[in-house]
Structure formats: structure tokens, C-alpha cells
């Protein structure tokens, strides 16, 4: 069965690029553009992995992560933070809240993100 990835990213162009890449890798991709819709999609579509941006309109990525981890229905879904924040404090906070990894967008190519997804899904 195709694995489902939820991408929560507010930048349209970045979202399109990543969706395109993940589609070529034969993933089932759904996406959300802000925190609220991202959170409800985690609940509704039960993805296998979430790629989560941090600076989002409305509730930010940290809050999305926190709430997803508090909800027993979604707590086990692995979340990778994919953001351009990346100071130590941010990374540590993400890990404390339960993210499996923290990737700085400017430091990784879409292929590398896809490789990371693959190892997490295995």
C-alpha cells in the first residue's frame, strides 16, 4: 500500500516542489497550508508521516506538534520538522515535543528529505 505523507507548509512554491518530489517517489501526498487545517488533517487522514513547518499562519508548528502528541489517536504518528528556523533552542524544543527529526529546509534537498522519510517508514 502507498504510504501517506502529510505536508504542512504555508509557502506555496515550496509546497508544490515538495509535493512534486514526493509524488515521483510514489507516495500518497496530502498537504495543508496552516496550523489549524494541518492539525485536523492529521486527525482525519491519519498519515504515516507528517512533514511540519514551524512558522505558520494561525497556530504555529510547535503547537500543532504538541497537540498532535497529546491526542492519543495521533500521538504515534511520526512528525519530522521541516523548517527554516534552526537555532539550538528551536531544535531542542521540537525534540522535547516529540518530533523524530528536525531538518532545516535550506540545508537539505528534497531527495534528502525523501530519504529521511524512507528510513522512518521502514
Amino acid at each position: 500500500m502507498m504510504k501517506k505523507i502529510l505536508l504542512i507548509e504555508d509557502d506555496k512554491f515550496l509546497r508544490e516542489l515538495m509535493v512534486k518530489k514526493l509524488l515521483t517517489m510514489e507516495y500518497d501526498v496530502v498537504s495543508a497550508v496552516d496550523g489549524e487545517s494541518g492539525l485536523s488533517m492529521i486527525k482525519e487522514s491519519k498519515p504515516d508521516v507528517v512533514l511540519l513547518d514551524l512558522i505558520l499562519p494561525g497556530i504555529n508548528g510547535f503547537e500543532v506538534l504538541e497537540r498532535a502528541k497529546q491526542d492519543p489517536e495521533t500521538a504515534d504518528i511520526p512528525v519530522i520538522i521541516l523548517s527554516n528556523l534552526g537555532q539550538k533552542e528551536d531544535i531542542e524544543r521540537g525534540q522535547e515535543l516529540g518530533a523524530v527529526d528536525f531538518m532545516i529546509k535550506a540545508h537539505f534537498t528534497p531527495q534528502e528529505v525523501a530519504n529521511k522519510l524512507k528510513t522512518i517508514l521502514e
Binding site: 516542489l17 512534486k20 527554516n84 528556523l85 528551536d90 529546509k105 535550506a106 540545508h107 528534497p110 531527495q111
Partner: protein, 381 residues
């Protein structure tokens, strides 16, 4: 009779003399009172809180800013033991740091230690023992309000963090697009297109690196450079950097020799120390010609671990050697070589080494090569 007259004359003289002495004493007393008033006015009008304790550590002088920070009234405060003034929930942290736990009459020496007395109030406290050759005379406590500095510091951090984020977003878009085209994700391209895009990709990576360097610099200026210090073997950090640098070494066909020996542990921020070694190694590679040589060795004496990296590169011109660690400085010979660099690497490197209480220095001769050294103290654990 004459004798009597003489005596009485003498007595009059004594009286005058005595009156003079009294007058002088009175003048001196007035002067002393004046001086005291002046001093009190100065102390009262300082921005910092000042508390003077007598040798029993009871309050002798306290000014308004100090009263305000400690949230106490002036009435009846003189003569109270200092420890009693700190018997408040919001001052518990200060009390713990400054008052001896076993003997509440004893006060500890502290220098500019930071405390918060409420959610948005931060102070720095210094306590100094006052003494002359004979005895201890009490303590001087200075309370400096740093609330505003803290606020500015936080705003600056937030600004840098947001600015980095905003700059990185379009750069990520460029990186991702170019990479996907290069990887053939959106169809095939010809060799010439590929070559141009490779160069675009490299330029973009340079920009991304520059932002990282600027973030590091802003951390240096905040004095928050080191984050997580742990006891480690520096060889492990070196090994990680060397492994990650194989490609740049291969590209320039440079031979790297690493000489290690068993070393005592050091307490370092691993990531930052990695950055130091990476900077030094990258510089050595960048400024050494094709087919050159680089040698790294690790050694130690009783107190320090010493790192040495020697290259057969272009060297640093004599007249520019004293500016080599300056922010944004790049030596003329290397800018002419059209090598890329931000002029931030060695500045950052030096600051990281200093934050570890270490030292960095170099020897260099133009067209022969450069050797950088740094040493950091061995862990005493």
C-alpha cells in the same frame, strides 16, 4: 598680686586657645556632616541599588533603588540583618546565592550574578567584602537593573532568528528547484544547462552558508555562543570533520595526514568545536594549491590539549597577519585568487576557542604555508 595677674592672663590665653580648638572641632564636625550628606546624596541618586552592611551584616545605608528592587519600606530598615530583608518568595533565589546556608549572618562574595525578581525584572548583583588591614568592615551590595538589556537582547535574537528564516525561505526554493532539475525530476537537460545550474547551485549554497555564519556571529555578540558543553575526546570531533571533508580533499587532490595520540578529555560544545576544526581544515584546503599537503596533529601538555594544522598553501602576507581574526577581513592574496569566503570563519573560530578558555595562534609565510594552533584546557573532572 603680680603673680595672680600673670596666672589670670595665662588662664585667659588657655581659654582662647580652648575656644579655638572647639571652633576647629566644630568646623571639622560640620565638614564631616557635609561630606556625609554629599556621599548620601550621591548614593541616593545612583541608578543602581546600593546597600552598605556593617560588620554584623546589618543594614547601615540603603538607597531608594535598592528599596524598590527588594520591595521594602525605608522606615525601620536600618540595623536589620540583611538576610531578613530577603525573606520573600520572589527573593528566594537571591537569598540562596548570597546568604550562607549554615550561618545566616555570613554573606558570600558574588560578582554580577543574574537574578529575576519577577517575571519581567532582571537584576545583576555584586557583593564585595569591605576590609582594611585590621578587620572586616562589612559588605557592599550593588544591585544593577538589567531588564532593558535583557529585553533588547531578546529582541535582537528574535530579529536575527526571523531574518534568518526569511532569508532562508527563498534560498530553499532556489536550492530545491535547481536540485530537482539537476536530478532530472522534471525531465532531462543538456550538458551546458547542467553546468550552468551546477554553478547556480554552488552560488546558492554560498549564500546559505553566509546566513549561517551571520547567525553564529550574532550569537557571539550576544555572548551565548556555547550551548551544550560535555566531556569528550576531541579526536572524535576531529574524525567527524575529516570524514565529512573527504570530497573537498579529493577534488583538489590534497593529501591529508592526521597524527593522533591518546589524549585526556576536554569539556567542549561538540558542535561548535566541530565548526572550529571544519573552518581551519576548509581554509587549509581552500588556500592550498592542487596536489598540496595538509597535516593535522593532536598533542597535549599538563594543562591543555593542543591542535595543530599545517598546510603547504599560499600563506598570509606579513603586513596583514595582525588582522586575520577580524570580522569580515580577508587577506589580499586570497581575494585575488577568487576563492569564496565571508571573512567570518576565523572570527567565529577565535571566539569559540576563547569561549572555551583556550587560545588560538598561527605561523605563516607567504607562498610556503600556514600553521594554525589552538589549545583548550583539559577537563579536571
Amino acid at each position: 598680686m603680680e603673680e595672680l595677674l600673670t596666672k589670670s592672663e595665662e588662664l585667659r590665653n588657655v581659654r582662647v586657645a580652648l575656644l579655638n580648638v572647639l571652633e576647629d572641632t566644630d568646623d571639622l564636625r560640620k565638614e564631616a556632616v557635609d561630606e556625609r550628606n554629599k556621599t548620601m546624596t550621591i548614593i541616593e541618586n545612583l541608578n543602581d541599588g546600593v546597600i552598605l552592611l556593617n560588620k554584623n551584616n546589618q543594614v547601615e545605608i540603603i538607597n531608594s533603588p535598592a528599596l524598590e528592587v527588594l520591595n521594602i519600606k525605608r522606615e525601620g530598615v536600618l540595623g536589620i540583618p540583611f538576610a531578613n530583608l530577603l525573606d520573600k518568595e520572589e527573593l528566594a533565589e537571591i537569598k540562596k546565592a548570597i546568604i550562607d546556608e549554615k550561618d545566616h549572618k555570613k554573606i558570600k562574595d558574588i560578582y554580577r550574578e543574574e537574578f529575576s525578581t519577577s517575571k519581567d525584572r532582571h537584576v545583576e548583583i555584586t557583593s564585595v567584602l569591605l576590609r582594611d588591614e585590621l578587620e572586616e568592615k562589612g559588605f557592599l551590595i550593588v544591585i544593577h537593573d538589567v531588564t532593558k538589556e535583557k529585553l533588547v537582547e531578546r529582541m535582537k535574537t528574535e530579529f536575527v532568528s526571523v531574518a534568518a528564516h526569511q532569508l532562508r525561505t527563498p534560498l530553499s526554493a532556489i536550492k530545491w528547484t535547481v536540485r530537482m532539475i539537476l536530478d532530472g525530476d522534471v525531465g532531462s537537460i543538456n550538458e551546458e544547462q547542467k553546468e550552468l545550474l551546477e554553478k547556480t547551485y554552488i552560488s546558492n549554497e554560498r549564500m546559505i552558508r553566509l546566513i549561517n555564519d551571520l547567525l553564529n556571529v550574532s550569537r557571539i555578540e550576544e555572548g551565548r555562543l556555547l550551548y551544550n558543553q560535555e566531556e569528550v575526546q576531541i579526536e572524535d570531533v576531529l574524525e567527524g570533520v575529516v570524514n565529512a571533508s573527504q570530497e573537498i580533499l579529493r577534488n583538489k587532490n590534497i593529501k591529508l595526514k592526521v597524527e593522533k595520540k591518546e589524549l585526556p578529555k576536554v569539556i567542549i560544545d561538540k558542535e561548535k568545536m566541530g565548526l572550529v576544526i571544519q573552518n581551519l581544515l576548509e581554509n587549509a584546503v581552500k588556500y592550498t594549491h592542487q596536489g598540496g599537503k595538509i597535516k593535522i596533529s593532536l598533542d597535549n601538555d599538563e594543562k591543555n590539549v593542543i591542535f595543530k594544522i599545517e598546510d603547504s598553501g599560499v600563506g598570509i602576507p606579513k603586513d596583514q597577519q595582525d588582522r586575520i581574526f577580524t570580522k569580515f577581513f580577508r587577506a589580499e592574496n586570497v581575494t585575488r585568487m577568487e576563492t569564496d569566503g565571508t571573512g567570518l570563519g576565523l572570527y567565529t573560530t577565535k571566539n569559540i576557542i576563547q569561549a572555551h578558555k583556550g587560545e588560538i595562534w598561527f605561523e605563516s609565510e607567504e607562498n610556503k604555508g600556514t600553521t594554525f594552533y589552538f589549545k583548550i584546557p583539559i577537563s579536571n573532572k
